[in-house]
Symmetry: C2
Subunit: 339 residues, 2 copies
């Protein structure tokens, strides 16, 4: 059987291609009867229009790209969920790309988004990204871009983020309240705005409490594989016994802190109090249960997608290029910060 195109449909119906095409999209210049006939036949033969022919002609793809550093982190899984939810509702398709925290890969991926492959892109930048030229080029080609979670600060584009500074501040505040004298902040990459903002909030709380932040390095950068992070954390805690509180800027780090504590007779929360930026579902059933700053991941994905679609549909009066949506995270206190 040859492939089922609109041409065969037309022949089958004894109509022209143009008529069938119009009938299928319920054009007013086609009579109700012929519309019915066409629809019926299309249904019967399970005709599905070739999306690429359509895209080519209409110059839009009904597709968006989602570029993220990784998919293993629960935050991104949930965000995808939110994005997908609004995409299906809008009848759009979603392409997923992973940068694996690499700037080079991110650039290569962004390059795929040109030439009409997608009508818009949602991006959470890699930790290596310190330059947004590649993204700016996208904008120059009139392809709407919206950032979610990990934005690029100096680039003008809509962003959906969370209250990172405030959360960082609150996390430090909590540790201080619980009696920590030497809390530290574990970052992944300070070039990431989410990290630097969280760290800044953290530092502000320390300063406010009169802790001399020069005495010890209170922000530590952790990078690499899980194993490398494990080693870094272990070394840190062994060398600096004075550390009695720790804020993990991302999920991955929290896990390794727990692993180190398991391996090395460090008692949480007695010796070390922990709070983590994380959407881990298992936080309440960890040993001990983990105090988290939980981002509204699904909502962030959803909102970002919504903003993107208003941009795609050119409803510019509602969203301007520098719109920033800020959704609040929630601090949930659990046993890892108990006195």
């Amino acid at each position: 059987m040859s492939k089922l195109t609109i041409k065969t449909l037309a022949k089958e119906l004894g109509l022209s291609i143009a008529t069938v095409s119009k009938a299928l999209k319920d054009s007013h210049e086609i009579s109700t009867e012929t519309k019915k006939k066409v629809l019926a036949m299309a249904e019967q033969l399970n005709y599905v229009p070739n999306p690429y022919a359509s895209s080519l002609r209409k110059q839009k793809s009904k597709t968006i790209a989602v570029i993220l550093p990784e998919v293993a982190d629960n935050f991104f899984s949930l965000a995808i969920n939110g994005i997908q939810a609004v995409a299906v509702q809008k009848n759009y398709h979603v392409l997923i790309y992973l940068s694996h925290e690499s700037f080079e890969i991110e650039k290569a991926v962004v390059n795929h988004c040109y030439s009409g492959r997608v009508d818009g892109v949602l991006i959470s930048i890699s930790s290596e990204t310190t330059d947004a030229e590649h993204i700016q080029k996208l904008q120059n080609e009139n392809i709407p871009v919206v950032f979610f979670d990990r934005e690029f600060e100096s680039l003008e584009a809509p962003k959906v983020i969370t209250n990172d500074y405030e959360s960082g501040y609150l996390s430090a505040k909590l540790l201080l309240e619980k009696g920590c004298k030497h809390p530290v902040f574990l970052s992944t990459s300070l070039s990431l705005s989410i990290c630097s903002k969280r760290a800044a909030g953290f530092a502000a709380a320390l300063a406010e409490a009169g802790l001399q932040t020069d005495d010890f390095q209170y922000v530590i950068d952790c990078t690499g594989t899980q194993e490398m992070i494990f080693d870094q954390v272990k070394e840190l805690l062994q060398k600096h016994k004075e550390i009695d509180g720790i804020v993990a800027s991302v999920e991955r780090l929290a896990m390794q802190i727990y692993m180190v504590s398991l391996s090395g007779h460090i008692n949480i929360p007695k010796d070390l109090k922990v709070v983590a930026f994380s959407t881990l579902e298992t936080a309440p059933i960890l040993n001990p249960s983990l105090t988290t700053i939980t981002q509204p991941a699904f909502e962030i994905g959803k909102s970002a997608a919504e903003v993107l679609f208003t941009l795609i549909e050119k409803k510019k009066h509602t969203i301007t290029a520098d719109t920033t949506l800020m959704l609040s995270s929630k601090l949930i206190e659990r046993d890892s910060t108990m006195i």
Copy 2:
């Protein structure tokens, strides 16, 4: 600036469209010098060919679809990772679709895969799917389909799965060894082959041990939202105090068992031993650490994608339609099954 097409490129170079096109794909009928010129100009202007024009003409999309029930489950996140890894290497794009465990959605999604939108599809069926007509239609249209993890047993297609029966058997065996007298199996949907196989293996071990499986219902179906599952588990454990061991067939269930234990003074592992089919990274740091049957999620995704691509590239001599790849899961004993 008008959009950059091959036509403008050709004009800029003083060459014909055909020549430019061939030069770009390194055709032998183009001289090395002109190739260089073309490549240089393309690079300079950052020319990216319109993928849909190309797809339309070549009748292939360089895109695959991945259809899965959800993305929140760690298994699927990891599988996506594996799939993506081989897709980028093959220079393919991946569309993600979520069925949310709904048969209707799954059918609708599959319908998007016709008419050349994708060159192949990877699918893990929804728990509601009891009929594979929609998938068979895809095959009839010569679109390769390969199942991963959640297969549809009676449909002939390549499948990449794990040793579910054996794992079910081992999980029961372990519980019996640890002294359980009334172990039960928590399933999500017995119409799912992974569930029924795991349950069958579980039952076989009980039978072998001489446990009369008629006395009590040892396979319990749990469905619905997290809250609903919580309630079901809670009620089950309250009504049947004799239950002293439990196998969770999927990650979600294990979490709710822990939540119930937290809420209801049930001590794991003293009162209740737990083993879960799960790829949870936090299993070692749960309270207590969770004994898991860990599937090689990344590898399953990777292998499935590899099989799909050999199919797409029509290397039929290596993979036949009924190839089933079985990757083994690992039973990792932790504290939740301690005596």
